[in-house]
Subunit: 422 residues, 2 copies
């Protein structure tokens, strides 16, 4: 894409009420727009990141048998009364709204009821199980505290998968698969090295739930990590009994702050009972379905990446979720150099390299460099009088301080050697 | 996909309060779930159709310079007060909800204000124009009448693009491009032959708005079509003066019912004035931006396709939006035949043919045929004892009554000759 066509521009300032690093950088770089506290729009660059994250998650969910659907945001009272969660006394962060012809509807704050209600129609026999429906949807929570940018919103974009299994054994097999899928997601999104499978409080149906916590001082949670084993305990279950059951030793654990980027937990029959989700087994006996829940906030994941992968100049996107792979900068207004830059841009497009081409005229080299660092695309290519005098193009990784000069004919080989998919 | 894994099943009945043909067929075939009047969830088959429609629209919008973003559903009062549309006296179908810490927010019922408010930050100079942001999003309208299935919902999935141009001339050039893009969309979605560019009432800023009306008795609008010229007039502007200005003759017009599947209109400075959307031209003078609006409801388009392309057995999807290209049916429980069907399924997947494989055992041939007709995938391939005795596989198009027997080795060639992208 030509940067001269991109409607966003970088900004010097973010809104004065914006105190989180993620939102500050993303607003300055033109990825998101703050609509109100806890509500953000994704601008073209931001949506490209969200779509990449979405595709990673979709691939991993499909690989373990997920079936994508799109459930409605409007939720009806009758469905939620079955589980007892319609009442504002039980759920204190509902958004509800009034129908003109009477009655109230809720806005999805989670998805168990919607899925259970749909699956109820299709589950009768053991042959109908297991199934793993999921969706990506906007979720709404009436938060009073919304100061963490896109880490915690009143409106946020979320993936939820629910598993419907015949029994505990089948449930557990899938649960372990989901754990691995989640590890893959955070690995592929570039924060695997900072993300710990964390044991947190369970509930009626299982001893633990499992969170994926990414280490950062900006995190809301306190966790105790075992760096060698790559696992952690959430403060809420940090006690001798739990440590013993996980074969962890207090002296090997380090206290850290983390952001919960994903969580999975067993639901047992919590929802299959009220929704009468039963199936007939091979002996013709009626059995309750066993459910599990697997969530990831896509905006939260994007915000976490920004929190942990940035420096004082801006964002440092992992290749896999960067809005573009290459940021091509042309400096100066020399016609011949502009033409050469244009040709390179067209060639990169022909090779399916995702490239943002800073073709803006009357913008100084300093501004272009600063914008490029702020936006944070992993590879920068510069064409200028100086680079051509030095023998070609300057290629620099965002994470490195110095670039190298390469000849035009070597450029594509170098890009390939850096592992950019072309 | 293996049909034995698909969690939906066909149904004999749709809800008794469902009176529209589109929702009835889509519910029976397992594409959608009715959550309440005017609110539907898209199940896996339905979402596949929506995604194909979305991709067609995205390609056409990008081709004319569109930049996709994802604006928030929550809308704040201050933004909408600028245009005067916050008031329930002005807009009578708002859904609003209350924030816990005071104040109200609205749910998007349209998108002009959201786009104008964002673009205000980025438009300063003539160099920043024109720009064409768009998004796909869930839209909410507090309708009291919701009996048209997915044609008219309280919640619906919508594409909206807004054009921001320097002057009328630049606006008009884009407006004509958008008309062609819309024609392409309906052509590609398989209803081009039934869809008429229709002149409808304009407003302060232009003589006409333009609707795309698809002919069907189920339509809400009355239009007068000129079949030769391929254009129509909406009843609301059907008068001598309009006919004359369009060079249409009353005696050549035929009265029909239509569904409005898309509409485009000029906004002039209606929103750029209240949002103070100005730019400096090359002489340094401040000028107001000229806007235009271009909407398509994706669910409505899907519902319209079902209304006009179905028979008494079920849906007849156009290839471009069908959830799968091929429906492969294996009949009987003969091990050898099942194995051959499995091999064919795997081979089709290797060739990237999108195939739904009805591998269900203990389901009769009659049921499989009925399900296949109801679901409406354009090509059906049957493997059975009989087809093998006749020399191979039976291939039948959904729109044709009789199939032909082809040899296994010819199968892929035939599929290719029918134009399925493999």
């Amino acid at each position: 894409m030509r940067q001269s066509h991109l409607f966003t521009k970088t900004k010097k300032e973010s809104p004065s009420d914006e105190v989180s690093l993620n939102a500050e950088l993303l607003i300055k770089a033109g990825f998101i727009n703050k609509e109100m506290a806890g509500v953000y729009s994704y601008l073209p660059l931001g949506l490209r990141v969200i779509k990449k994250i979405e595709n990673i998650i979709r691939e991993e969910m499909n690989a373990i048998g997920g079936q994508e659907m799109k459930t409605s945001i409007f939720q009806n009272k009758e469905t939620w009364e079955k589980s007892g969660r319609w009442s504002d006394d039980v759920v204190d962060n509902w958004f509800k709204t009034k129908l003109k012809n009477g009655g109230e509807v809720g806005l999805s704050f989670t998805n168990e009821e919607a899925h259970a209600n749909i699956l109820k129609q299709y589950i009768n026999s053991y042959k109908d199980l297991p199934v793993y429906p999921y969706d990506f949807k906007d979720i709404f929570r009436n938060e009073t505290r919304s100061k963490s940018g896109i880490l915690r919103g009143r409106e946020f974009y979320w993936k939820a998968l629910y598993s419907f299994s015949k029994d505990e054994e089948e449930h557990n097999v899938f649960y372990e698969k989901a754990k691995l899928a989640y590890k893959n997601i955070f690995q592929r999104a570039g924060i695997g090295h900072l993300t710990y499978l964390t044991f947190a409080s369970g509930g009626t149906f299982s001893k633990f739930s499992h969170e994926f916590q990414t280490l950062t001082g900006a995190g809301e949670d306190t966790i105790y990590i075992d760096e060698n084993k790559g696992i952690a305990i959430n403060q809420e279950v940090y006690n001798d009994e739990v440590m013993e059951s996980l074969e962890l030793k207090k002296e090997e654990l380090v206290e850290k702050r983390g952001i919960e980027v994903g969580n999975i937990f067993s639901l047992g029959t919590k929802f299959s009972e009220p929704f009468d989700l039963k199936y007939k087994n091979q002996n013709g006996e009626e059995k309750l379905v066993i459910m599990g829940s697997y969530g990831i906030g896509l905006g939260r994941l994007m915000g976490t990446i920004v929190e942990v992968l940035s420096d004082d100049k801006g964002i440092i996107w992992p290749e896999t979720v960067s809005p573009f792979k290459v940021h091509l900068l042309v400096l100066g207004n020399d016609e011949k150099i502009l033409e050469e830059a244009n040709n390179l841009y067209e060639n990169l497009l022909l090779k399916d390299v995702e490239v943002l081409f800073d073709d803006r005229v009357d913008v100084s080299a300093g501004e272009k460099f600063a914008d490029s660092d702020l936006i944070g695309i992993p590879y920068r290519i510069v064409i200028s009088k100086r680079s051509l005098a030095d023998g070609g193009y300057e290629i620099k990784k965002r994470i490195e301080d110095k670039g190298v000069i390469v000849k035009g004919e070597d450029l594509l080989d170098i890009i390939v050697s850096w592992g950019i998919k072309i």
